[in-house]
């Protein structure tokens, strides 16, 4: 019965939603088993077959050192999306915890933290990202750290306002009058009620963070080659754009598709949680 209702819901869903589910399923397969989809090595170099256009042997063509682009783009899925997911998770945990404490405690601590966090927000995200990765140097670790710092204020703000709203509600007052400690009220009562807000923020920020990750990779500030990453492949393709457009086409399309599907998912989460 429930399977039937699920199928019925799918049929009624708008085309963009169906497409997004389909793409998410494809990306899930590419993340779990890239070698199953693209058995060729994403890093094996073969100068003899450099800059070949798409063909039956190399579906997406080859790059300037003869690596198979289909394998590179497919294997990059896990790396690129994993980096963004990890960075945002770090950001959500740090920003969420700080925001919860700040909003719940209020007072001077709250004022100070909120001001400090606002400083990060005065820079456009890409510029903050460029400064942090530029100063720390390229590499996956620094990229994750940079993205985490750039998006921390947005998690902080939502957790803070959530905690402030919850703090004003009667159940918190009731818990206080029953003699529960502040830490226990925050952890057991307030935090679970703020969590959905943080989750929603995570899904909504994912496509934005993905764009910044790709842009930093494109500027040469991301994952070091030969590790496959969509942004880095685009950086490499930039120099051959007029002779080998296929290097740049595919990673961009994958970025577009993943951004699109997560964005549509985010809209839906937002509608479900009823705050959109």
């Amino acid at each position: 019965m429930s399977a039937l209702r699920f199928a019925e819901g799918l049929l009624k869903a708008p085309a963009s939603r169906l497409l997004s589910y389909l793409l998410l399923a494809v990306f899930a397969v590419l993340i779990v088993a890239p070698e199953w989809v693209a058995p060729q090595s994403p890093i094996a170099v073969d100068p003899g077959r450099a800059l070949q256009p798409p063909s039956a042997a190399h579906w997406f063509g080859t790059d300037d050192v003869g690596r198979d682009l289909f394998a590179r783009v497919v294997h990059a899925t896990r790396i690129t999306l994993g980096l963004v997911a990890g960075a945002l998770l770090l950001s959500a945990i740090l920003g969420g915890v700080l925001g919860l404490i700040s909003g719940f405690a209020g007072g001077l601590l709250d004022q100070t933290l909120a001001r400090l966090v606002d400083v990060i927000l005065t820079f456009p995200p890409i510029i903050a990202g460029v400064v942090i990765t530029g100063v720390l140097g390229p590499g996956a670790d620094n990229l994750v750290l940079a993205l985490a710092i750039v998006y921390l204020p947005l998690f902080f703000r939502i957790a803070r306002s959530g905690a402030m709203a919850e703090n004003a509600r009667t159940y918190v007052e009731a818990a206080r009058s029953l003699g529960f400690g502040e830490a226990s009220i925050l952890m057991r009562q307030v935090a679970p009620n703020v969590l959905p807000l943080i989750l929603m923020q995570y899904v909504l920020l994912f496509p934005l963070a993905l764009q910044i990750e790709a842009a930093l990779g494109f500027l040469g500030l991301g994952v070091a080659p030969p590790t496959p990453d969509w942004g880095s492949i685009l950086e490499q393709g930039k120099n051959f754009i007029l002779v080998a457009w296929w290097i740049s086409l595919w990673p961009g399309l994958f970025l577009l598709a993943s951004s699109f599907s997560v964005m549509v998912l985010g809209r839906q989460v937002q509608e479900r949680l009823g705050s959109g």
């Binding site: 963009s16 456009p124 510029i127 460029v130 400064v131 100063v135 764009q211 457009w245 961009g252 964005m263």
Partner: protein, 300 residues
């Protein structure tokens, strides 16, 4: 205040990490005497707070210092680069407004129709596409269709207007198309919720022509969020130019920051970032000031 704290953070961040300009100038084979002498020359041997106060006092006097590489005054480097970026940003804003707002209004009025579906598809694709990738694809398209590609040496509009146009057209198209999508998406949402309100139904019911209702009543009511959004878009465009400038070799603010960081040219990076914060604050201020002009109820 925010500008002060952020410049302090930028200042310490740049000095906190290993590798300074002296290391880059001398490379691996540096002898300690030369290193010391050069560090002394750039003032890097002095305590951090002393370096910062000295810089801050100069900034308040309107002096951002000199580039450690080119020896030029940072103020002139930043203002030259900013003019380049500003031209692109303003033209992009105009292009995206002219495309995005009508599309959004149209989609909002025709909610649920085929046209609405098409515009929404454009919006979603535009919101998901990386701007530099769109730039790359435009390069490929222009070269395939018109066998034309932009020159990669910059000329300013005062030097040569047509050369300047050839350089900035693709950056503006790629940035503009994406921001138009963001615009159109936002305007559509505003329009849809505005058209659901009672006064619209009443106006239509009493026989006012739909054109008057849509354009005079509904559009006027969404002007305030629209202007707020315009400020956001402008800041987004300024950020987006960082990547686009690097792709099309345009000597704007983004490229200045990028090369400054890579060369550890502290005065340039500090000056340029301070300027970015200043621009962001100014844009927000202008947006606030515009509210009063649009909506008399918001005048204090």
């Amino acid at each position: 205040m925010a500008a002060l704290v952020s410049s302090l953070i930028v200042f310490s961040l740049m000095r906190a990490v290993p590798g300074d300009i002296v290391g880059q100038m001398l490379g691996q084979t540096s002898d300690p005497t030369a290193t010391e002498a050069l560090r002394g020359f750039f003032g890097l041997d002095r305590p951090l707070y002393a370096q910062f106060t000295e810089w801050l006092i100069d900034v308040l006097r309107g002096d951002l210092g000199r580039s450690w590489y080119q020896g030029q005054a940072v103020t002139s480097l930043v203002s030259e680069a900013f003019l380049v970026t500003l031209q692109i940003a303003v033209l992009t804003l105009i292009v995206s407004t002219l495309i995005g707002v009508p599309l959004g209004v149209l989609a909002g009025i025709a909610e649920g129709s085929k046209i609405d579906g098409l515009i929404r598809a454009f919006n979603l694709i535009g919101l998901s596409a990386p701007v530099f990738w769109v730039g790359l694809m435009l390069l490929v398209g222009a070269s395939a269709l018109f066998s034309w590609s932009p020159p990669f040496t910059y000329s300013s509009p005062s030097e040569n207007l047509s050369d300047n146009f050839e350089i900035i057209i693709l950056p503006i198209l790629s940035l503009g198309a994406l921001q138009a999508a963001a615009y159109s998406h936002f305007v559509r949402e505003c329009m849809v919720s505005e058209l659901r309100r009672d006064y619209i139904r009443a106006a239509l019911a009493k026989g006012l022509s739909p054109a008057v209702v849509y354009f005079k009543h509904a559009l006027r009511n969404i002007l305030v969020p629209l202007v707020t959004f315009m400020g956001l878009i402008l800041i987004q465009i300024l950020g987006g130019t960082v990547v686009i400038e690097s792709l099309f070799s345009i000597p704007g603010l983004g490229r200045l920051i990028l090369s400054g960081i890579q060369g550890r040219d502290y005065p340039v990076v500090q000056g340029a970032l301070l300027f970015v914060v200043f621009v962001a604050i100014t844009v927000n201020f202008l947006v606030d000031a515009a509210y009063g002009l649009i909506d008399p109820r918001l005048r204090k």
